[in-house]
């Protein structure tokens, strides 16, 4: 953790670390501890009266079928988003890696969805898939598919997954392409001399060599799907129909911000905080190992 060679103790490090510590204390610790405190309270929306209820909010939470369902749904959603965006990115990167001239051009053309705000991405997709007006439902009708994500929970889930994955393809593509380009050409050439075709070489040589990237991306993508997709869901389905796209982060927002159930929402925040910390530790340990070696 600490450098073997380091500077001796002095007031300087305190000065250096102070801005971040102050901001963290004021804008993170304080609100977070208030959220923690609020999770033990039952309070009206305006904060005029509150009652200490101990763990009751948590009790209610875990007794709530909708909440338990949201857990499972979040897992399903996250793995599909990660799987879809990583697969597409891997395929594109594998092909782009073969192109010597033009790789940068392709990269430029693929990179930009990363910059699009989730809520904008949501707006674009909901616009394209509007059951009455959208271009896709119009086209889908010709192959006999009736598109109505306002009614059909499966289609709604499909749509948010698509929108979420679309945004993430760019990021995954960058990492995969960089990983592939860092594989020494000699290894691939040796494979070719042994008579392996491009497809075979990919599976036996390239894919195993980039597995650390795959693992890293898996973690990043799941974290992304857990938290950053909030804007997409808010713009596309608002958790519906019949709650079929309500994932955990959306439920925290909806119960707290829309429903004004501050205690219940705070309890959900606390659960999420613990999940985040757990995920962080996993990622941290992994990254740590990489750096040590």
């Amino acid at each position: 953790m600490l450098k073997r060679v380091h500077f001796p103790s002095s007031p300087l490090p305190y000065l250096l670390i102070a801005p971040q510590v102050i901001i963290t204390l004021v804008f993170f610790m304080w609100p977070a501890s208030q959220a923690l405190f609020q999770s033990f309270l039952m309070e009206d929306a305006f904060g005029l009266s509150s009652e200490f209820v101990g763990l009751e909010n948590f009790d209610v939470l875990f007794g709530d079928e909708q909440y338990i369902d949201a857990f499972g749904r979040t897992m399903f959603f996250s793995f599909l988003v990660a799987g879809l965006s990583m697969t597409v990115a891997l395929v594109l990167a594998a092909f782009a890696d073969r192109v010597i001239r033009g790789a940068t051009v392709y990269r430029t053309l693929l990179i930009w969805p990363y910059a699009v705000a989730p809520v904008l991405a949501g707006a674009l997709w909901v616009f394209m898939f509007n059951p009455t007006l959208g271009i896709f439902p119009y086209l889908l009708k010709f192959i006999g598919i009736k598109w109505n994500h306002y009614l059909n929970g499966g289609q709604a889930m499909g749509l948010v997954i698509l929108a979420a994955a679309w945004k993430q393809v760019a990021y995954n593509f960058l990492f995969y392409l960089a990983a592939m380009q860092s594989i020494p050409r000699s290894i691939i050439e040796a494979g070719a001399i042994d008579g392996a075709g491009p497809v075979q070489r990919f599976w036996t040589l390239v894919f195993p060599l980039i597995s650390p990237t795959t693992f890293f991306l898996l973690v990043v993508n799941i974290v992304y799907a857990f938290f950053d997709t909030f804007g997409i869901i808010h713009a596309v389905t608002q958790g519906g129909p019949a709650g079929s796209t309500t994932i955990l982060i959306y439920k925290v927002f909806n119960d707290g911000f829309v429903g004004l159930d501050l205690g219940g929402s705070a309890a959900q925040s606390v659960v999420l905080m613990f999940m985040v910390i757990a995920m962080t530790v996993i990622q941290f340990r992994y990254v740590e190992k990489k750096v040590d070696y």
């Binding site: 509007n130 009455t132 306002y150 929970g153 608002q238 911000f257 429903g259 004004l260």
Partner: protein, 434 residues
């Protein structure tokens, strides 16, 4: 505060320290009216500001109804609340129970010396926002009620008459589909239209304690056989596309305006939108009657929003606010607002003025909403709803109704679940609102 002070300083410097610039009292009004209705809100404010020189109403658009309400509550908790905020009707119980946070409009007007004649307001509008003792808590502003919109050209082509009962809705839908339309009818704001208003229209109770008016210990009862039979009938009509579900709120509007569905049940306030988009002759009529439940319709209940004054400001500012509210409910402003937007006129004077201006003759059907609201003297079942956490409860009802349309639940399963989940939310509210 700091930024406001800086603003004052800048304003003072720019105005060459002219005293008149500083004497104006500003009154903040947060509202949820985007688009053309937002323009109208701005016009009302600007007209008021031009009509006198002591007060200035500052309208601020704060997003949709939920965002506006949450933003004001958050602002109140932080001591930064606006003077006036537009809250939709389902937020009524939440606002009402926040005794220290709101400034009841009746009191406000009295303290400011402005007259308020409650009998001038339409009973169906005002009763939604009165306490059980009759005190008016918030100022009605944009109220609407669901009506049946129809595509006249399509009905004529299909050889169907404008339906007045649910049986006729079904046969008309069948004819529409037979004549080549993609769907017979659809609706938006489904809980409001097909549970809340269906109950009021047929004089059915939605919950105990007079729909919550007489106590927070109310319980929901809309899982009765009449409501479920009604919903089951709609669900059955999905076969053959007599009914097609098109989403919450107004998401299904394009289905109607693009000529895919021949009939659409939703707020009368879509008048402006339909008028600008529909390329066919359209009309509006009263909600259909369910003859198996009642032989005559009661009255429908309103939706839309009212204006709540929030506590914690200077008396002088409230005085300006009171003057603005008087201006806002004057017959001229209300008649103009009603005619432009399709919201109902909230006072009888505004209604009479519109009549004498010949508005209803030039625009047949535009008085449907007001006729429907004032069809009968409201009963305990039809004057409105007073359920806490109703924002969430309505979402629950929406969710369960969607499960019904999708076919994963029957109407009684869906409504039982909605009542059970809704009652949990009511109990939660009861505890927090003590």
């Amino acid at each position: 505060m700091k930024s406001r002070m800086i603003k004052y300083l800048v304003a003072a410097t720019l105005a060459g320290v002219s005293s008149s610039a500083l004497a104006i009292t500003e009154v903040q009004w947060w509202h949820a009216m985007g688009g053309t209705n937002g323009e109208r809100v701005n016009k009302i404010s600007a007209d008021f500001n031009a009509s006198q020189s002591d007060y200035k109403i500052v309208p601020v658009y704060k997003g949709n109804y939920t965002e506006t309400m949450t933003a004001s509550i958050a602002a109140f908790r932080a001591g930064q609340q606006p003077h006036l905020v537009q809250v939709f009707e389902v937020g009524t119980a939440t606002m009402m129970s926040a005794k220290g946070a709101i400034y009841p409009v009746e009191q406000l007007m009295e303290n400011a010396g402005e007259s308020l004649d409650k009998s001038a307001y339409l009973p169906a509008v005002i009763s939604y926002y009165q306490t059980s003792d009759g005190e008016l808590l918030s100022m009605p502003f944009n109220s609407s009620t669901p009506v049946l919109w129809y595509n006249k050209d399509a009905l004529d082509k299909a050889g169907a008459a404008v339906p007045t009962t649910w049986d006729e809705v079904k046969s008309a839908s069948q004819k529409l589909v037979d004549s080549g339309m993609e769907c017979g009818f659809s609706f938006g704001w489904q809980s409001w239209v097909n549970v809340e208003n269906y109950s009021a229209w047929h004089n059915l109770e939605l919950g105990t304690k007079e729909n919550g008016y007489t106590g927070f210990d109310t319980e929901l009862t809309f899982n009765n056989s009449k409501v479920t039979a009604h919903l089951d009938r709609i669900a059955d009509m999905s076969d053959g596309n007599l009914f097609v579900y098109g989403g919450r709120r107004g998401d299904s509007l394009p289905m109607f305006t693009n000529g895919k569905c021949g009939m659409w049940m939703n707020s009368s306030a879509y008048y402006g939108g339909i008028k600008s988009q529909a390329k066919f002759t359209f009309g509006q009529t009263m909600l259909p009657l369910d003859t198996t439940v009642a032989s005559e319709a009661q009255n429908s209940i309103i939706g839309g929003a009212t204006l709540w004054a929030l506590a914690g400001h200077e008396d002088e500012e409230y005085k300006g606010l009171a003057k603005f509210l008087t201006y806002l409910s004057s017959p001229e402003v209300q008649a103009w607002w009603h005619q432009e937007t399709g919201y109902v006129p909230i006072t009888t004077a505004a209604y009479d003025l519109s009549k004498s201006q010949g508005f209803y003759e030039q625009n047949p059907g535009t008085d449907t909403a007001i006729k429907q609201l004032s069809l009968n003297v409201p009963t305990a079942n039809s004057r409105g709803l007073r359920f806490g956490n109703f924002v969430q409860i309505r979402d629950v009802i929406n969710e369960e109704m969607e499960a019904l349309w999708e076919g994963s639940k029957t109407a009684s399963e869906a409504m039982d679940a909605a009542v059970k989940r809704g009652n949990t939310l009511l109990r939660k509210f009861e505890r927090s609102a003590k």
